[in-house]
């Protein structure tokens, strides 16, 4: 049976893993290659690396890091953060990433989704959407959550699927870093509208939150950062309890 995925997310700044609360206030969380290796051994199903470095050197260091990660780990991983063109996507994928996550660039240039999925297949193109509740709907924010776009998140997500995205990485900005649980209403609304897999992000604090994202929010995968980085929840324990709740998960047999 196809299992629900647990995805630790590593925010990368200047080659280190960092984690903030509500997109601000960064804490150091270690060496990304070491963390990636640890998560792989502990049973993570996939990994996401988001580069939040803002310097000119960024691209070169990111490509080098992607190559190191690809040489070390043997599970799929996604790379995102400031990727703007098909040639940049190609560079990241050729370095060994399986998917790229596109966020601000596709809001500016939605056709990039189509160009990228035509070139590399839709399975390699993740549309990352940072959504924030504004009044009675959710709005898309870009540039690390700092800039409103005026786009309705549900309409935008449907559009990314139609343009060729293979997966949605849906982050609730209201919940990100708060550990108060995923935005289940947002998740359920998105899952009603798309037929591609949806990764729930933003708000994981307990094992129950992760179960709720899947059972109530209908998410295909659950992404979290700090609860894993700081060992508040072990992946093994999370999967054991998810299985107990009747959720199909991948267990490692040794």
């Amino acid at each position: 049976m196809l299992t629900k995925r647990i995805i630790p997310c590593l925010d990368i700044k200047d080659g280190r893993t960092v984690k903030g609360v509500n997109f601000e206030g960064l804490r150091d969380a270690g060496d990304p290659v070491e963390l990636a290796q640890r998560y792989t051994q502990e049973g993570a199903d996939e990994l996401v690396f988001l580069d939040i470095t803002a310097t000119k050197e960024k691209r070169r260091t990111l490509v080098k890091l992607v190559s190191e990660i690809a040489a070390t780990i043997n599970i799929p991983f996604t790379v995102g953060g400031g990727i703007k063109s098909v040639s940049e996507i190609e560079e990241i994928l050729k370095s060994g990433a399986d998917k790229v996550s596109l966020n601000s660039a596709i809001v500016r240039d939605p056709d990039l989704i189509t160009r990228a999925s035509d070139a590399f297949g839709s399975q390699a193109v993740v549309a990352a959407v940072d959504a924030k509740r504004v009044g009675d709907h959710w709005e898309v924010f870009v540039k690390g959550g700092s800039e409103p776009t005026g786009l309705d998140a549900l309409e935008w997500i449907e559009k990314t699927e139609n343009l060729g995205a293979g997966e949605i990485l849906l982050t609730s900005m209201d919940r990100d870093g708060t550990k108060s649980g995923f935005d289940l209403e947002l998740l359920a609304e998105v899952n009603k509208r798309v037929t591609i897999p949806v990764i729930a992000s933003g708000g994981a604090g307990t094992i129950q939150h992760c179960c709720d994202a899947i059972e109530i929010g209908k998410a295909d995968a659950v992404l979290a950062a700090s609860i894993f980085h700081f060992r508040e929840i072990e992946i093994h324990d999370l999967k054991k309890l998810m299985a107990k709740n009747g959720i199909a998960v991948r267990t490692l047999t040794t």
């Binding site: 196809l2 190559s67 690809a70 897999p197 295909d220 490692l252």
Partner: protein, 203 residues
């Protein structure tokens, strides 16, 4: 020595990293003469069937591949292209194995089939020594291969489809062993062992 086929649709970095971790010797080439010197061939693949076939044809890799007697392991799209045709871009593929690839019905479940799933072996085979129906492998595909006489193992998603195929010297796996943790490494090691022992794949 393993030859990895180099073409546009190849997940070359992942496959070569996996072989590197297993300590295998390999070359990456788009030259049929060079590839024919290898003891075994890995035919990777990610992306669109029609585009991949165009690229293979432009390098005369299609004709060589169909006719080689070397053990070949097709991965994901590489496995799919062993079949006759695909609904993806309505393309004619290599035709080593009978059958046409179909698109998953997106009204029944999420498409692509993406994530960790198992397979159900139909027969014993050296390629899956040590791997059983409890273990998980990483799949990502929107089109699926029909089951037929050449199906070695099936996987269930929306319906049963071919997870592993074998015909003569050709083997194919729908999942990505190079991305499937220890279980995937074991399958690749089994293929390397088969190549080393010079056993015909279909024995």
């Amino acid at each position: 020595m393993i030859g990895i086929i180099k073409y546009q649709a190849g997940n070359l970095a992942s496959v070569s990293n996996a072989l590197e971790r297993l300590g295998a010797n390999f070359i990456i080439s788009d030259n049929p003469d060079e590839l024919e010197k290898a003891d075994g061939i890995i035919f990777p693949g990610v992306g669109h069937a029609a585009a991949a076939m165009d690229d293979l044809r432009s390098r005369d890799l299609d004709i060589w591949l169909k006719n080689t007697k070397k053990p070949v392991l097709g991965i994901c799209l590489g496995m799919q292209l062993l079949f006759e045709s695909s609904e993806e871009g309505n393309s004619n593929t290599l035709g080593v194995i009978p059958g046409r690839l179909k698109k998953f019905d997106a009204t029944k479940a999420k498409v692509p089939h993406m994530g960790w799933n198992q397979f159900e072996p139909l027969t014993n085979h050296k390629l899956i020594t040590g791997i059983n129906n409890k273990q998980f492998l990483y799949y990502v595909h929107g089109y699926y291969a029909p089951t037929n006489d050449y199906t070695l193992a099936t996987c269930k998603y929306i319906k049963d489809f071919a997870a592993i195929v074998a015909k003569d010297n050709f083997l194919g796996v729908q999942f990505h062993p190079e991305k499937s943790g220890q279980v995937g490494s074991l399958l690749l090691q089994n293929f390397l062992d088969m190549v080393k022992e010079g056993k015909t794949v279909n024995s």
